[in-house]
């Protein structure tokens, strides 16, 4: 069971939805958003193919998504996009571990960690020593 691939796929579905919602509210950089959206669709397809290659059925997108807040302005759109990109980072970090013995998949997950951090930064997220979503609470279980 490729739990981390399914989780990353779910994250990509959410990101694609967010770009669809936020794109129309941007007053600049719509071309950047379209490019990023295209990248997320490509990654989604890659993850789906990995699951099929593993004889697993890719889960479908959620029927609905709850946004963390209103998206009525350029600023709110950028905040949403920065957030969804940052939230993908733990998913790909987990994928590195799950696909540790699969060199090409691991390398791809490493690249996605970097690319999500860069896209988050392009939407205004500050740089971090260890890029990570700051809104996620620390798990209560011991690490």
């Amino acid at each position: 069971m490729s739990t981390a691939i399914q989780a990353a796929l779910a994250g990509e579905y959410a990101a694609i939805y967010a770009y669809g919602r936020a794109g129309g509210r941007l007053t600049a950089d719509q071309d950047v958003a379209l490019l990023h959206l295209s990248v997320h669709r490509t990654v989604r397809d890659t993850l789906r193919q990995w699951l099929l290659d593993d004889d697993e059925q890719p889960a479908p997108p959620a029927a609905a998504y709850t946004l963390p807040g209103p998206v009525n302005s350029d600023r709110q759109a950028r905040e949403l996009l920065a957030l969804v990109e940052l939230r993908l980072i733990p998913l790909y970090t987990e994928l590195i571990a799950e696909q540790f013995e699969e060199p090409q998949r691991r390398r791809r997950a490493v690249r996605e960690v970097r690319d999500c951090a860069l896209r988050a930064q392009s939407w205004g997220a500050p740089g971090q020593a260890f890029p990570w979503p700051t809104d996620l609470a620390a798990p209560s279980a011991p690490s």
Partner: protein, 144 residues
């Protein structure tokens, strides 16, 4: 496995190391403590810190703020990579924004390769996050 708690621990450990440890290594008799030999990733982070220290000597006010933040993030990387000594004292050497950009770009590439080949899963995850951070540094420096 790495999670938010682990990421926070990495940052806290770095803060502790940089504020509590003495500025230079000495033993109880005041003799210089033997310095451990850094591995290649640690040596690379030490070189980046030295490059920022050199650049800070002649940086303007705006660049100083950015250089200092990025330099401090490299200290966090260094600690996360297992280095427990304070960084060496700054040396007067030539460095520039262009040199830093080139060094950060190279570092991010090296860290990504290491993450993809590390024999340890936790280390691979940390290296991937450091590679991402160093890629962000390139953007920060190019924006100056």
């Amino acid at each position: 496995m790495i999670d938010r708690r682990r990421v926070l621990q990495l940052g806290a450990l770095a803060a502790l190391t940089t504020t509590v440890l003495p500025a230079c290594g000495t033993d109880e008799q005041g003799q210089p403590a033997p310095q451990p030999t850094p591995d290649s990733q640690q040596a690379d982070e030490l070189a980046l810190i030295a490059a920022y220290d050199a650049a800070l000597l002649s940086a303007g006010p705006r660049a100083t703020v950015v250089y200092q933040r990025l330099r401090d993030e490299h200290v966090e990387h260094l600690v996360a990579l297992g280095w427990q000594q304070p960084p060496p004292a700054p040396v007067d050497a030539n460095s520039s924004r262009r040199v830093l950009i080139r060094a950060e770009r190279r570092a991010s590439r090296i860290r990504s390769d290491a993450a993809a080949t590390s024999p340890d899963a936790d280390q691979a995850q940390i290296l991937a996050l450091i590679a991402a951070s160093e890629a962000q540094h390139v953007v920060d420096l190019e924006a100056l």
